[in-house]
């Protein structure tokens, strides 16, 4: 996130929320949004599903899934043609405006209506509302990123925020809501194929040298590694022979899981480190029991770059060990140096030494009687941290507008597979259900998978009161319960992906965004048929 969650309750005058089921997937962020609404802030929600926060919106726009660049360009079209852009910001802090303008001028509200099915006047109203309330914050989640055009979607959000001067001010910005408690931290510390901790590129010779020196080794690779989805393909074609999976359950969460299972079965050796015997762990040669958050020390870095301590409440149960201990012991047994840490605190000392954006982080500063938390970049022990980014200047100098044209999703509905399937999450379950489906109370709330379908579509497929349907795509089929609801757009069906026995990802498409490698979980073509019980 460019900005901080508490700014939503304190400063934001207009929220543009898209591709985020905020109350269900990020309830604590939603709490700050609601406080902002109580204060009188405006809310625009753009989503093919009328998610709970959409029902609280002043303006709710319902696009066809996979058309985000089109409506974002449409908003900018209205803002430019009606003279609502922040000209001073554009002139002083950005570049590439003329190219952007040329492209977005092609996206008139009427044309956007044709592509997205958002009524032209609603688009105009949304553009005026967003542009005339400052600070305005864009909040998005996987509904924007999980597309074959995910990177384009994100850049378009940034274009919109820059065009209206909503960068570098409290309460504004472009704010991706990261899902897991520490996914931000995992990326920050190099859990990506192309960077060392702190987004220091592996391809730069000076970085290679820096880390070789720090770790007392030679020959660190200066090549970009594999993205998750590439590893799975690699397992299939034999270029990857062993895989070590930590706290992930790709056999439920990967796209096209029938294919993913086939690939993992080709591996010579599979190690899974998890707190439960997940679907993926069942396939493993070795399972290493990790610990839950209550059994370990360390830090979590939240979605607004906020580094906080996690503390051990009970000793690890059974033979389980903290993840850092497992990794260090493996390193030691492989004869590597540099794994002799005595505690997570010592690990953080190394992180601070080698990672400029974490340079001023220490466990002392994270104590509640001191700062309690720090938001990176925090470059030195006396640096206060950074609640919002890009104040006065972007990291690259001027903010660059990207002129982007709309592209259709990889797979569109046709006669054989007439519906668009979009997938997502529920309040009562977390990710692949490894933890929440073992929790009785949460299981009672939603015990099984279901598909949401609009009443008109239900009539069209002859559902006629039947409770179960078969949903199939070119890649697989599942049988599951059905919920008929007007909250979903006609022509679109929604399936939460938490349920292994009726896995939405048996249906999804493994088309990838070319730069981020994110699969297109939010659009694929399916057929829905009633099943007589």
């Amino acid at each position: 996130m460019t900005n901080s969650v508490p700014e939503f309750s304190a400063y934001t005058e207009c929220f543009l929320i898209t591709g985020s089921n905020t109350t269900e997937a990020h309830p604590l962020v939603a709490s700050h949004v609601m406080e902002g609404l109580e204060r009188g802030a405006k809310l625009i929600v753009v989503d093919p599903r009328e998610v709970q926060i959409g029902r609280l919106a002043h303006l709710y726009l319902r696009p066809r899934p996979g058309t985000d660049v089109a409506w974002l360009n449409g908003l900018m079209n209205v803002i430019i043609t009606e003279g609502l852009a922040d000209e001073e910001f554009v002139a002083n802090r950005t570049e590439g405006y003329e190219e952007l303008k040329q492209v977005v001028l092609e996206y008139t509200p009427e044309q956007v209506e044709e592509i997205t099915s958002i009524p032209a006047d609603d688009l105009r109203k949304a553009a005026r509302m967003y542009a005339s309330h400052k600070p305005a914050a864009i909040l998005y989640a996987m509904g924007i990123t999980q597309h074959s055009t995910g990177t384009d979607n994100v850049k378009s959000c940034a274009n919109l925020a820059m065009l209206t001067g909503n960068m570098g001010i409290p309460g504004g910005g472009v704010n991706p809501l990261r899902g897991q408690n520490n996914v931000q931290g995992a990326c920050d510390l190099g859990g990506l194929p192309n960077v060392y901790p702190g987004y220091q590129k592996v391809t730069l010779p000076e970085m290679k040298e820096k880390f070789e020196k720090a770790w007392g080794v030679t020959g660190l690779s200066d090549k970009v590694g594999l993205q998750v989805t590439q590893m799975i393909h690699g397992a299939c074609d034999g270029s990857v022979r062993a895989l070590y999976v930590m706290a992930e359950n790709p056999l439920v969460s990967d796209p096209d899981i029938n294919h993913a299972r086939h690939c993992l079965e080709q591996l010579d050796f599979l190690v899974v480190q998890d707190i439960f015997l997940s679907e993926t762990a069942r396939l493993a040669d070795v399972v290493l029991p990790g610990t839950s958050y209550l059994e370990k020390e360390g830090t979590f870095t939240g979605t607004d770059r906020r580094i906080q301590r996690v503390r051990k409440v009970i000793e690890p149960v059974g033979d389980s060990r903290a993840d850092w201990e497992i990794i260090c012991q493996l390193g030691q047994r492989m004869g590597a140096s540099g794994f002799d840490f005595a505690s997570p605190k010592e690990v953080m000392e190394e992180i601070a030494r080698l990672t400029p954006i974490y340079g001023g982080v220490s466990y002392e500063r994270l104590e509640p009687e001191n700062e309690g938390f720090l938001q990176w970049p925090v470059t030195a022990p006396d640096h206060p941290g950074t609640p919002f980014l890009h104040k006065g200047k972007f990291s690259r100098g001027r903010g660059k507008f990207h002129a982007i044209h709309f592209k259709e999703a990889a797979e569109l509905p046709d006669e054989e597979y007439p519906f668009i399937l979009t997938t997502g999450r529920l309040m009562f379950h977390f990710h692949t259900g490894t933890m929440t489906r073992r929790t009785e109370k949460l299981h009672q709330e939603v015990p099984e998978a279901y598909v949401e379908i609009h009443p008109a579509d239900a009539a069209r497929i002859g559902l006629d009161g039947q409770k179960r349907v078969r949903v199939s795509s070119r890649r697989g089929e599942i049988e599951l319960a059905v919920r008929v609801t007007e909250y979903i757009k006609p022509g679109v069906v929604f399936i939460p992906f938490h349920f292994a026995e009726a896995a939405a990802n048996a249906l999804t498409h493994a088309a990838l965004d070319p730069s981020s490698g994110i699969p297109e979980y939010k659009v694929c073509a399916v057929r829905v048929e009633p099943v007589s019980s």
């Binding site: 109350t23 269900e24 309830p27 604590l28 939603a30 709490s31 609601m34 406080e35 109580e38 709970q52 029902r55 609280l56 503390r311 409440v313 104590e367 509640p368 009687e369 529920l426 309040m427 009562f428 109370k441 009672q444 709330e445 939603v446």
Partner: protein, 267 residues
């Protein structure tokens, strides 16, 4: 502030005096890991005993007394804790004879913030109790209640519908309530509330909770503070308390001897 400092010192000194004669005293403890309810024993670091942030302690006492049926515990109790314990005692969830109550009077600012009608425990009704601090005047009544009273019926329906459409069914309001104790909760019973939908069905989820709070809610306001969706729950509960007062002359938490009218009616 200085007054508060000396009050907390007095409380800590009293706790230290009383601990040898008890099996522990329930209070809030602050450590680097945060603040939580805690059973203090002799020798514990009493500088960690605090009064804020407020958190209801009656359910902790209830759980401890049930787990240790012979033990005698103490509690550092604000007015709302004491009122909650009174209602819990009437429903056999705590045993007053095995409880020492160290009452604490809230400050005028606290009373105002909570719109509290009785900002200090009434220690006279407890078998063993003391009071520290000087009781202050009642806070002013919750202004939203008057605004609500002025609304025509249809507007009230719209008001609640809008407010409850924000509910994310986190159960926080129920979990924090100091007088909520049933093991099988009606809010989790699919016959009453359809599971797994957001917002939870209007108005059953919230009105079932409200009905169960009639003649029980002690106006501690914790539910409203806990609500992540900022729903003004105490308006609902203040109105409920007012109605129960008018109809049955019953004020929950006021009198350990008075029997709750709804339990009597049902029996």
């Amino acid at each position: 502030m200085a007054e508060q400092d000396t009050l907390i010192e007095q409380i800590r000194a009293h706790v230290e005096d009383k601990l040898p004669a008890l099996d522990g005293i329930v209070a809030l403890r602050r450590t680097s890991e945060g603040t939580a309810s805690y059973l203090f024993h002799e020798g514990d670091d009493l500088s960690q005993l605090v009064l804020n942030p407020r958190y209801p302690l009656s359910t902790t006492v209830s759980m401890l007394q049930k787990r240790f049926p012979e033990a005698r515990f103490g509690i550092v109790a604000r007015g709302c804790d004491s009122r909650a314990l009174v209602e819990m005692a009437k429903r056999n969830q705590i045993d007053p004879d095995r409880l020492y109550l160290l009452g604490v009077a809230c400050t005028a600012e606290e009373a105002e913030e909570c719109h509290c009608a009785t900002p200090a425990p009434d220690i006279a009704q407890w078998p063993q109790a003391e009071l520290l601090g000087t009781p202050v005047e009642a806070g002013s009544p919750n202004p939203i209640v008057a605004e609500y009273d002025a609304m025509p019926l249809e507007e009230r329906r719209v008001f609640w519908k809008q407010q409850f459409s924000k509910c994310i069914k986190c159960y926080g309001c129920r979990n924090i309530c100091p007088v909520c104790f049933c093991e099988a909760c009606a809010l989790e019973n699919p016959a009453w509330v359809e599971p797994g939908v957001l917002a939870p069905p209007f108005p059953t989820f919230h009105l079932i909770k409200a009905m169960h709070m009639a003649a029980r809610c002690v106006a501690c306001r914790q539910c409203e503070l806990a609500c992540p969706s900022h729903i003004p729950l105490t308006v609902l509960y203040d109105l409920m308390r007012r109605d129960v007062g008018r109809m049955f002359g019953y004020v929950p938490g006021d009198d350990l001897e008075a029997l709750p009218p709804l339990s009597l009616t049902l029996e």
